[in-house]
């Protein structure tokens, strides 16, 4: 079961990740790669949020702050002349892990609406820090001159090679998140969400479990920020704004909370909708707003849920 699900995951993610290059090769238009890169990166961030939202019941309304942390860590290192991907990864893990630990320790003292609001407030603190600090480039953001390098193993500015790196990285991260959710730890997390009283009585430390999940999720989001910084060659306070956090929530819900592939499907759908609508009108928000409302009101299981239903009805259900 476990090996099979891991293989299915890998297979599916590789298929998803290879759509971009196939289309790009077919049309000769490497811009397609940029869109698909963005989808994958957003999917990683959304999956990291889904991990604590869908399985841990933690509504982090400041999750995008960790996109910012990842992006700034890369930016500051790269501009100091350190471009090695390994160094970037380690730094991002430490930075987002530590901040996640502090944020989580504060926020997890509260629950429900207070949790939503305190995560928002904590993220705002980071946002204002980024905006105000001249070392971070302030509101203008931080231009990153060099993408992360792998000791000359690949050319970061070749569109296909760079896509391959982003895709490989994203696939690995999503696989890791999926694995975590399925792991014994994932079961405990669900237990702590489902009935904290019972979980405590079974001897599970609810706080520690939730905090670990929170920190891990922050690290994954930080790594998504690393990718985002590499893709945009830029770090901006905007990455950490509360609207981005809102968008991440939207993507998770749109895709289907607590569904393994929800975030990826949500990211596809979100970027697709944004992309398509904004080609017709600059007032795309007037359509997207109501769409979001209807989606929440009537499709609670998200797109992944809707698809499940359709395929069930078609008798596609395997096993």
């Amino acid at each position: 079961m476990s090996l099979r699900s891991a293989l299915t995951d890998t297979l599916f993610l590789l298929v998803a990740a290879s759509v971009g290059p196939i289309v790009a090769l077919w049309t000769g238009d490497t811009y397609t790669l940029v869109t698909f890169q963005r989808i994958l990166i957003v999917a990683v961030a959304a999956a990291s949020l889904n991990m604590i939202l869908g399985y841990g019941g933690m509504v982090n309304f400041g999750h995008a702050a960790f996109l910012g942390i990842g992006a700034y860590a890369v930016g500051l290192l790269a501009n100091a002349g350190i471009t090695n991907l390994g160094a970037h990864i380690v730094t991002v893990i430490i930075a987002s892990g530590l901040v996640g630990l502090v944020f989580g320790a504060i926020a997890l003292r509260t629950s429900s609406i207070f949790f939503i609001m305190i995560t928002l407030a904590l993220a705002q603190i980071l946002y204002y820090l980024a905006v105000s600090s001249s070392t971070f480039g302030g509101d203008d953001g931080l231009v990153i001159d060099e993408r992360s390098t792998l000791g000359g193993l690949y050319d970061p500015f070749d569109p296909y090679q760079f896509y391959a790196l982003v895709a490989a990285f994203s696939v690995v991260l999503i696989l890791m998140i999926n694995h975590l959710v399925r792991s014994d730890f994932g079961r405990r997390l669900v237990a702590c969400r489902d009935n904290p009283v019972r979980a405590e009585a079974l001897g599970f430390n609810v706080f520690a479990t939730k905090l670990s999940a929170f920190v891990l999720s922050c690290i994954f989001c930080g790594l998504a920020g690393l990718l985002l910084a590499n893709q945009t060659e830029f770090a901006s306070p905007d990455f950490a704004s509360w609207r981005r956090s809102g968008e991440l929530l939207v993507i998770v819900i749109l895709g289907g909370t607590g569904k393994l592939y929800g975030p990826l499907i949500g990211a596809f759908a979100f970027i697709l909708i944004e992309h398509t609508l904004s080609q017709y009108t600059t007032h795309w928000a007037i359509i997207f707003g109501p769409f979001l409302i209807l989606a929440v009101l009537f499709f609670r299981s998200g797109l992944a849920g809707v698809m499940d239903q359709i395929f069930n009805r078609l008798g596609w259900r395997v096993q």
């Binding site: 003292r109 609406i113 407030a121």
Partner: protein, 306 residues
């Protein structure tokens, strides 16, 4: 000393504005357990409505009242069409639906009034400075804003303490079941409370219009701050909201005014001028994090009986 008193007045005025918005938010949360991000959009609509009514009636004062009424109607419609479908849903769903409303409202305002900021001026009677005792002179309009805020706050207090609906609101905030057991038409009560919250936000928007820049998205900064107020004060507690609004208003204003000077006693002037404004913008959020760390339910939580 004059300077300090003026800064206190500034803080008071900002706090009262925050209170008007936060009071509605906390009412809606306390009675219906509903988290309404679109409250800031109603604040924005209040500012726009007041401009429309100024043009129609020619009177600044009538326009404020009419803007409040229009916001009330808007709130009632919102409750009837959307919010009541969400009371039994979780907070996340409520956040997302009202997030969608923000997107919609901003874009609708853009389409109707343009993306450009719109002119909102003052009647002559409110221009200029008012001479206060001790040789302090203070902008007339800001005194007016404090006055309107205080008046609305007082009316709200009377309404909640002295009327039957107000009594139900109080009862509803502490014990939802009792109210329905008492045979009250609960959905009517909810509609009224939602409308009332919108009314307060609308008036706040109308009053803030001449101070702020009336443009799409103007409600969002205020929204986040008033959520901070509501959470610090304790969800559902109007007294808490008043208290917290004053704290936030004063801390924010005094932080901006004095933080740099305070910091420069320990840091170099350059570092102080760097850190001062950065810290000032984070101050209220840090305050909130600290308060919630020690009192996870806010300063004056309502004792819920279920």
């Amino acid at each position: 000393m004059h300077l300090f008193i003026e800064q206190l007045l500034n803080g008071l005025q900002f706090g009262i504005l925050l209170f008007l918005i936060a009071a509605g938010l906390t009412l809606i949360f306390g009675v219906m357990d509903f988290i309404n991000l679109s409250h800031g959009s109603i604040f924005m609509m209040g500012a726009y409505f007041s401009l429309v009514f100024q043009r129609l009636t020619g009177s600044f004062f009538i326009a404020i009242v009419l803007a409040g009424i229009a916001a009330f109607v808007l709130g009632v419609l919102l409750e009837l069409l959307l919010a009541r479908r969400l009371y039994h849903r979780n907070h996340l769903d409520q956040v997302l639906v009202t997030f969608g409303l923000i997107l919609f409202a901003n874009e609708a305002v853009t389409i109707i009034w343009g993306t450009q900021a719109v002119y909102s001026g003052l009647p002559e009677s409110l221009e200029g400075q008012l001479e206060l005792p001790f040789g302090i002179s203070y902008p007339t309009y800001r005194i007016f804003a404090i006055g309107v805020g205080a008046l609305v706050g007082l009316l709200l207090y009377l309404f909640i303490q002295r009327t039957r609906i107000g009594m139900l609101v109080r009862a509803g905030a502490t014990n939802r079941e009792t109210v329905s057991v008492m045979g009250v038409n609960i959905s009517f009560l909810f509609t009224i409370v939602f409308g009332l919250g919108a009314l307060l936000a609308g008036i706040a928007g109308a009053v803030a219009g001449p101070i702020l820049s009336v443009q799409p998205g103007m409600g969002e900064t205020v929204l986040i701050l008033s959520f901070v107020v509501v959470v610090i004060g304790g969800l559902g507690s109007i007294r808490g909201a008043l208290f917290a609004a004053m704290i936030v208003g004063l801390i924010d204003t005094l932080g901006r005014a004095y933080l740099r000077d305070i910091l420069s006693t320990i840091l170099s002037p350059a570092a102080a001028s760097d850190a001062g404004p950065a810290l000032a913008s984070m101050l209220v959020y840090i305050l909130m994090a600290v308060i919630l760390f020690f009192k996870p339910e806010g300063l004056m939580p309502i004792q819920k009986k279920r």
